[in-house]
């Protein structure tokens, strides 16, 4: 009688393995393999050829020689613009994250307080702009912000200003672009968290004499920390390496690591050097990614405990 069970059990565990294997396969295909390729190039030397870098391995006289060129990493230290670039990227990403949080939290809170049927509509409105291509939406900001653009023309027309405000090609334009583009990534995780909150907790707080503000800061806010962390990471991590927004909206002095990487790759034609920048950037991003993972794991445990 036990025999027929076995294949079923096998199928079950096989299925389970398959399901949990997919994320690993995903990670391998889209993260590990590309990363290894970039890592490999970062240890090569540039040369005038196609592709424009040397092979790490050479086979001659029955000898396999692997030569690692560490120059690109040493060079990173010696070229001080990179440090400036990293610091400025982290600063821009950090400030944008805070701005997103300040704008996104109230929006998420308001949506979570809406009656259920209105929530979906509100969420839809948050997501709707991203149906248009990211690039086109950033280009649209050029039309809004430029000297001859909609905002300046409107302000000039109303007589509020005499000379156009220079907004495009300034750091302010970069902040506007990043906050605009990444705001949904802040709103959605916070909303998902807030909407699960138990209302009776707030009632209990009020019964015990807490003002609505006190109840918010003592109950709602602490409970939503995991949503805040998730949202912040989703904004911060991609903003650090952002290239399109500083390139299109920022001025030439908006230094970001994405732009430095571009110029090392395209202008200096130094693929190994650019790869080394990318590797270092990734290593620096691992720290916030780990924090993010830990909070997510906690959150999942909390759900499992419920």
């Amino acid at each position: 009688m036990t025999n027929p069970v076995r294949p079923a059990q096998f199928l079950k565990s096989f299925g389970r393995g398959l399901v949990s294997g997919i994320p690993y396969f995903w990670l391998l295909l889209f993260f590990v393999i590309p990363f290894v390729i970039v890592l490999k190039i970062s240890f090569a030397e540039s040369q005038i050829a196609q592709p424009p870098f040397t092979d790490l391995t050479s086979f001659a006289d029955d000898m396999l020689t692997i030569s690692l060129n560490l120059f690109n990493y040493i060079d990173l230290y010696e070229y001080d613009l990179y440090l400036d670039g990293y610091i400025s990227s982290v600063k821009i990403a950090g400030i944008s994250t805070i701005l997103c949080l300040l704008i996104g939290y109230p929006i998420a809170y308001a949506i979570a307080k809406l009656p259920p049927h209105a929530r979906n509509l509100a969420l839809m409105l948050v997501i709707l702009p991203s149906w248009t291509s990211f690039l086109i939406r950033i280009y649209a900001w050029i039309g809004l912000l430029k000297n001859n653009g909609l905002i300046n023309n409107a302000l000039l027309g109303l007589g509020l200003i005499d000379e156009p405000l220079v907004m495009l090609h300034t750091p302010i334009a970069v902040y506007i672009g990043i906050v605009y583009a990444y705001l949904p990534f802040m709103i959605l995780p916070i909303y998902t968290n807030l909407v699960k909150h138990d209302h009776t907790l707030l009632e209990a707080a009020s019964d015990l004499g807490a003002t609505p503000a006190a109840a918010f800061f003592k109950v709602t806010l602490p409970l939503s920390v995991s949503g805040i962390v998730a949202g912040s990471m989703l904004v911060f991590i991609p903003s650090v390496g952002e290239f399109v927004i500083p390139e299109l909206l920022g001025g030439p002095d908006t230094l970001m690591i994405g732009k430095l990487l571009w110029s090392e790759f395209f202008n200096a034609r130094n693929w190994p050097g650019a790869s080394a920048v990318a590797v270092v950037m990734l290593i620096m991003l691992i720290i916030p990614i780990t924090i993010f993972q830990r909070y997510q794991a906690k959150d999942l445990e909390a759900i499992a405990d419920d």
Binding site: S46, A49, P51, H169, T254, L255, S263, F266, R269
Partner: protein, 365 residues
């Protein structure tokens, strides 16, 4: 079901029949933006039945990165001659089949000789258009700020901080191409424009660029055409034909903007854009057909009439508007030509130093 099978069979027959033909009637071209006449492609398609897919770029760097990664998918590309020299060395192009280029004899022999320094025996490329790297100005705004008597035919306009600072408020732009700006600065300083002295680069040249940097609004290699024409910038270091297109557009728009192109008296850089076929092109025959078409005097004359860049086919000159051929800023007179210098080909080391100096200057660090 039987019908479906028949249909599929018919489909597969048609498919394999198409496979017998050596090359599909397709050509993928990668050219600079605003760099061809409106009728060039349409007429070619009409004459040959070859369908052209036409993509554009605005920097040699982007083209080179694509070529060096290989498998660009393009059958014909247009690098500038100095970049092409390095790309030939990297082995990315195929030799041209002269038997398919009956119009090759139309090319300017003197120019071909000059170009053989970059492409030995002219084996890999033919010149498309050429031009100079000079200055475009908004005449009224510059006069208003510098005075009516200020001589505008000089690099002082951009490389002298006292002068350019007066123009900063109406907008100053520069090409995002250090390999053309550095020789222009060297020439302005009275040094050899093709110098690869790294002390000069990190010293005098960097000093000049840093001193004017605060007055430059942006570095870009195509945006200035519109901005000059609309009056959004009043001074651009740019390519001759691009600025002349801005002259034309401003005149057509009748928006009160008058743009002028200047080859400064100190001299200006001369460049050539070359047509070449990548080694891994999938339609090399069509590419040759297109090359041959582009060397036809009537075709290339139309292009020059439209983009205001001179070409390398002397027989086309009679078909070009006199407005263009008589303009010394497009077809330099012998006196102007004597002051022009060609851009150098840089080795990897100087290349990296130059690019980094440029990034540092641009970011104002």
């Amino acid at each position: 079901m039987k019908k479906l099978k028949q249909l599929m069979l018919a489909g597969s027959v048609a498919f394999s029949a198409a496979g017998v033909v050596a090359e599909e009637n397709v050509l993928n071209v990668y050219n600079w933006s605003d760099y061809i006449a409106e009728n060039t492609l349409a007429n070619f398609e009409k004459e040959t039945g070859i369908k052209v897919t036409y993509d554009v770029f605005d920097s040699n760097d982007v083209l080179e990165a694509k070529l060096l990664s290989g498998k660009t998918g393009y059958d014909l590309v247009v690098p500038s001659a100095t970049f092409m020299a390095r790309q030939i060395e990297a082995g990315v192009f195929q030799k041209l089949d002269m038997s398919k280029l009956s119009n090759h004899k139309e090319l300017d022999a003197a120019m071909m000789k000059k170009l053989s320094a970059l492409d030995p025996d002219n084996a890999y490329s033919i010149p498309y258009l050429w031009g100079t790297t000079g200055i475009g100005i908004n005449v009224a705004k510059v006069k208003e700020r510098l005075g009516d008597d200020f001589p505008v035919d000089t690099w002082d306009l951009i490389f002298k901080p006292e002068v350019v600072s007066k123009l900063a408020d109406c907008g100053v732009s520069m090409l995002d191409a250090w390999d053309e700006i550095v020789p222009s600065v060297l020439n302005y300083l009275g040094e050899d424009p093709s110098s690869t002295d790294k002390n000069l680069l990190s010293g005098k040249v960097t000093d000049v660029l840093k001193s004017i940097r605060p007055h430059v609004r942006y570095f870009h290699s195509s945006q200035y055409i519109n901005d000059l024409a609309n009056g959004d910038v009043c001074l651009s270091v740019g390519w001759s034909g691009d600025i002349l297109q801005a002259v034309d557009r401003a005149a057509e728009a009748e928006n009160g903007v008058e743009v002028a192109y200047i080859i400064p008296k100190e001299g200006a850089g001369l460049w050539f854009d070359m047509l070449a076929i990548p080694k891994d092109a999938s339609h090399p025959n069509n590419a040759h057909t297109f090359l041959n078409y582009l060397m036809r005097p009537d075709v290339i004359a139309d292009i020059t009439n439209y983009v205001w860049y001179p070409n390398a086919v002397p027989a086309s000159t009679s078909k070009i508007d006199e407005e263009i051929t008589s303009d010394p800023s497009i077809y330099p007179t012998p006196e102007v030509a004597a002051n022009l210098f060609t851009f150098p080909v840089y080795g990897p080391k100087f290349d990296r130093q130059g690019a980094r100096m440029w990034t540092a200057v641009k970011s104002n660090k």
